[in-house]
Amino acid sequence: MFDRILADYLVEKGKLGPEALEKIFELQARKRVRLGMIAQSENLMTPEQIEEINKLQSLTDKRFGDLAVEKGYLTDSQVSRLLTLQGNGFLSFVQSAVDLKYMNMNDVVEALNDFQQDNGYTLTDMDNLKSCDIDRIVPIYLYDLPGYAKELIGVAVRTLSRLVDYHVYIERPYTSDKLVTENLCYQASVGDFNLLLALSGEEPTLIQTAIGFAGEQYIDDLDDALDSICELINCINGIFATDISHRFINIDMLAPHYKTGPSVINAEDIINIPLHLFDKPVTLTVLLSDNYTVE
């Protein structure tokens, strides 16, 4: 995730052009290898075991390494060695930028310092960002949000990364009393507290999102796309509901809905999180209340 965040910063500061960025991402994508493949090439897992974990992964919110440990195929220390071998997005981004001679290491160090100062980040924040671990990065952006919102957004970003776009990234959230957007998919949940989760954005990005989730053969038009994004939201809320149910907090998901074209949510304290899916902006919206209108 941090590779994308840093890339945006470098473009904004005029250190990299969009074409350079495209080339860097291309090289980076060729370098990234799946953890399962590394495990196999290191003779730590059989293809059947990898297949089994991949399947399990499609059903749960857990990572490959964690599942492999649970099943007894890998130890914790083997997983951390594999993760090091895999490298993280930040390092492979820097490596690719340097290999392609768009930057040298001094430029990178300087850019990181500027980035840290411009954003007021601590050294710990920077370490968390550089880890490229979603669970460590998301809290940096959400520190002043209510607990349930933080937790739900964490689940949402993890799920989007797993089921839609591995390169999803987040910006600072903002609150408002009105969200003016387009193509709005939303689902309310009611129970021990009330909740609204929504995703909205431009048609091409949402179609790409839906294809990433459901598969190209099932998405023919914008209605199909929004319909399947509703199911994606249902899936995110379901995982969140399971997590909080372990603490004896219960919510029920109501049927999701969508609205094509210009859409508005009116409510107090709407939390909006700008996200990037396929490097294009969408808005994730969380409301901890059932007091809202959609028009």
Partner: protein, 122 residues
Amino acid sequence: MGTILIVDDSRTMRKVLAASLKEAGHYIIGNAGNGQEALDLLKNLSPDLPDLITLDITMPEMDGIETLKRIRAEYPGQKVVMVSAAGQKDKIMEALKFGAVDFIKKPYDPDEAMETFKKILG
């Protein structure tokens, strides 16, 4: 091999499920987007009821649980498999109490879902 009625408010999810059911050799006898539509369809089909109904839990107007109760009241032998997102354990328990034979989870793992259908339909 069997005849199946798919009940889900999401048309993409109906398409996804239908594709893997067809591939496994089953016949889709109908699609319904909500509970009432499912009940109407069953009335038309009766007495040639489907071998199995897949019934989504989260739907507008009449949800899967209410639909299940009505189906089982009207057609006591009808086999129903519930379709649920994560986080609906209580609803699944309730559905099983009201006579659902099993459940599958969304997003679908096609292999696991087909395994469940094979178990029920043979």
